[in-house]
Every structure is written in structure tokens, then in C-alpha cells.
């Protein structure tokens, strides 16, 4: 097993990122700092760094990758979804979702065998919905607070909680245990390109509508994480937009004050 390749790949990027950031210094921040994002200066630096990598390297490859016919891309995506299933299963059991854990264990076994290493979603036509769990979600279910929003080099938007869970997610994926460095780099690279290609419509939407892409990404990420923690079915209260309700409350109080004067 080539542990050196495995361990050094993200580490090299991290060191490179820190080196570059030390050299480039501060990044201008529009407007007032957000009290809910105390690490905003650091996060924006990381965001810019990641955006540069995306624009210069990943996006062009992903655009070329999108020229592969749908069926081919679908098979590759199925493979990576299947590869991530053990992480999901472990976390389902850790969260007490035993029925789903059994269901996804069966899915993994059938897709890996009859589905030819997962390239074919053999179980998909049964109508069973895929699930997505990770250690960050498990920590949330256990009641551990999310911590501040954090943008990491290459990994992108995180919370402290999800960032702590990421190494555990990584080592529970079969990809981590692939023996040779060359295979690891190829499969990991393809995984990144597949993810980027799947995100292309959302990134296009962000680029077309957002005036501050960092804020858009941060808000969308935090809300989507909450959605994942609730398995896509958050309580109605969380969908009602608490900020909106609070603001309406303030308006009503202001009006009441004016009327009383």
C-alpha cells in the first residue's frame, strides 16, 4: 500500500495553499463583517484560492468531461455513489437508523456484485431512494454544535463539525484502501471531476445571480447541510425562515411603538 501518496496528496495542497495565502495577504471584504462568520477574512482567502484552482484546472476538465454521453457519466457517477455507500452505512448505524443501514448494506452488496462495482445502479429500479450520510451529520444527530463556518483549501465550504468528520469520511471510503498511488490519484481525480460536473448547474446559477459568490456559497452550503442532517425532510419550522419571522416581529413592535406615541 502506498501510504505516502495517499497521505501526502491533500497535505501538499494544504501546505501549498497556506504558502500562497501567506504571500498574498489580505483580501478585501465588501461591507460589514458578518457576526455569524467570524473567520470571514480567512474564509474569503480560501474561497479565492479554491476558485482559482477551479477556474484554472477543474472547471476546464469538468467541461470536457460533460461531453461524454449521459450514459457514460451516469455509470461513473453510480460508481462513486456506490464507493461512498460504506461511509453512509456506518453513519446510519451510528445514528440509530438500523433499517436504513441494512437497506443500504444490501444496496452496496448488490450494486457491487450484480451492478459491476457499482457502475450499474442495480437496485435503483426498485424505486429505493439513495441516502447520503457522513460523520459531520452523525455528530449533528449526536447534538454536537456545528461550530463556525469554515472554508478549507480544496475541500471548500465546511463547518468545524463537518471538517472534523471529513478525515473519518475519507478513511471509511474504499478509495482510501486502494493500494497503488497511481490508481488513487486517478480515481480521486475522477471523483472530483464528477462532483464538479454535477455541480455545474448550481455554479452557473450562482454566477448568473449572485453579487457576492462567497456569501451565496456560504448560505447555500449551511442550509443544504441542515437539509442533509434532516435527511431532506427538515421540520416545517426550519423551512419557514426564522430571520423573516424575527424581522416581521421587529416591524410589528416598531409599529406598535409608533402607534403608542
Amino acid at each position: 500500500m502506498n501510504n505516502k501518496t495517499r497521505a501526502n496528496c491533500p497535505l501538499t495542497l494544504l501546505v501549498l495553499a497556506l504558502f500562497i495565502l501567506t504571500g498574498t495577504g489580505c483580501v478585501s471584504i465588501p461591507g460589514e463583517p458578518d457576526p455569524n462568520d467570524p473567520w470571514e477574512p480567512f474564509n474569503r482567502s480560501m474561497y479565492d484560492f479554491n476558485d482559482g484552482i477551479d477556474k484554472d484546472i477543474i472547471a476546464p476538465i469538468a467541461n470536457a468531461y460533460l461531453k461524454i454521453p449521459d450514459g457514460g457519466r451516469k455509470a461513473i457517477h453510480n460508481f462513486f455513489v456506490n464507493l461512498g455507500t460504506p461511509t453512509t452505512i456506518i453513519n446510519q448505524f451510528l445514528q440509530g437508523k438500523f433499517e436504513l443501514g441494512i437497506e443500504d448494506s444490501m444496496r452496496f452488496i448488490f450494486n457491487t456484485t450484480f451492478g459491476l462495482l457499482g457502475f450499474i445502479d442495480f437496485v435503483g429500479p426498485t424505486g429505493l431512494v439513495r441516502h447520503e450520510e457522513d460523520f459531520g451529520q452523525t455528530f449533528a444527530v449526536w447534538g454536537i454544535p456545528s461550530g463556525n463556518f469554515l472554508t478549507l483549501p480544496v475541500l471548500g465550504p465546511q463547518t468545524v463539525r463537518s471538517a472534523v468528520g471529513w478525515p473519518l469520511d475519507f478513511v471509511t471510503k474504499p478509495l482510501f484502501w486502494i493500494e497503488t498511488g497511481g490508481e488513487f490519484v486517478f480515481v480521486a481525480g475522477l471523483n472530483i471531476v464528477d462532483t464538479r460536473a454535477r455541480l455545474a448547474p448550481a455554479i452557473r446559477l450562482r454566477d448568473e445571480t449572485a453579487f457576492d459568490p462567497y456569501i451565496f456559497t456560504r448560505e447555500a452550503f449551511l442550509q443544504q447541510r441542515l437539509n442533509l442532517i434532516y435527511d431532506g425532510n427538515p421540520p416545517i419550522q426550519d423551512l419557514e425562515d426564522l430571520d423573516l419571522l424575527e424581522e416581521e416581529q421587529l416591524l410589528e413592535e416598531e409599529k406598535a411603538e409608533e402607534n403608542s406615541q
Binding site: 460589514e32 437497506e103 431512494v129 442550509q223 443544504q224 437539509n227 423551512l239 419557514e240 425562515d241 424581522e247
Partner: protein, 232 residues
Amino acid sequence: MMESGSISHRRRTRYSPRRVIWRKMRFTTTMLLQTLMAGLLCLCTVLPSAAQNPDAIATVDNLHAALLDIMRNADSLGFAGRRDQIAPVIKESLDLPFIARFTLGRYWKDLSAEQQDTFVDVFSRWTVVHYASRFDGYSSEQFKTISSAPARRGRELVRTVLEVNDDPADDVSLDYLLHDTDGKWRVVNVIANGVSDLSLKRADYGALVGAQGLDSLIAKLEGQISDLEVGH
């Protein structure tokens, strides 16, 4: 799952030989639990639910029907045709003045009445052209209405799903928050896969207005409208 305009708690069901094989091989406990759940869900679809709000659902279904129409006829309508066709539906279905006001958050009350009117007008035009731009083709997408439930302050949350292809994993959940304005239910927020459109805009617009003022936001919105108009 029923067609758009009807209510169902059930997910889409598909039949194939592999499904039969799969079901035979599943653990007994899983099957029992799923049978129980399926029974309960079927019961839910049979029993009338007092919580459903047909008027709120009708608003969302009408919007979806209009969107599907411009999607299906995207090429023949062209951008201008889609914009002109969807504009009255958007203005009828969405409470644009309310949404515009809350996208600006605490900055709204600092504006003059004239500035507020200007912003509502620009924001409304921006919303229409973005719908016309985004819904620019059709490849068998379907909107399915799942349920509606009361929310706080007399609002209603209508939960729907956009099926983009045959894979349920790719479905996009679209939840609409509506309120009653003079007897008409209108949308005040759209939540896609848990991400609130209103919340995103408030954060984005608030930062820009706080740093550069309302005029800058209006200029940027006008710029995006022009880009989309010219780009099509």
C-alpha cells in the same frame, strides 16, 4: 405519486424484474417494516386530511403548469415569448412586493417610498426574466405536489418535487411558503433542496447594499436583466 395537481404521500413506484428479485432477497424485518409503512402511507392517501390547503396548492400547481408550458414550447416562444407568457403568472403567483421588501432586510426602512417602488419594479422584472431564462427547455421534467401543511403566522407550506429524470436520487424538492393576501394565496419563498431563495437573496443583497448602497444593487440587477435580454 399522482400527477401534478393532486396530492400524494407516496413516492413514485417502478416495476421491473430486478425489483421482484430484490424484494425476494430482502431481510424479513425490513420487508415487514416497509409493508407497515406502505400501509400507513396508503391510508394517508385515502383518508381526507384536514391540514391540506387547496387554495395554496392551486397557486403552486398553476405556477408549475405555466412553467411546464413555457418549457415545452421554449423554442417556438423564444426568450421574449417565454418572458411575456410567464410574467402575468409570476406576478399573480408570487407576492413580489413582499419578497422584494424582505430581500433588503433592515435596509428597507431606510429607503424613501420612491426608492422602495423603484426597487420593487426592478426586482419584479429581474424575477420574470430569470424564470424565462432558466426554464428554457423540456426533457420530460415533471412537477409533483406532495402535501401542504400550515406554517406559523397563518402561512402554508406546499411541498413538491421536481423530477428531472428517471432516477429518484436526482429529484429536486421544491417547497413553497405562501401567505394569504386579500383572499389570494401567494408565494413568499421557494426552498429548493432545503436552500431558501429568500434567505440567499437577503444575505447577498444585504451585503451589497450595506457596502455600496441601493443604487449599486439596482444597477447590478438592471445589468443582469440587460445581459439576459441581449443574451437571448
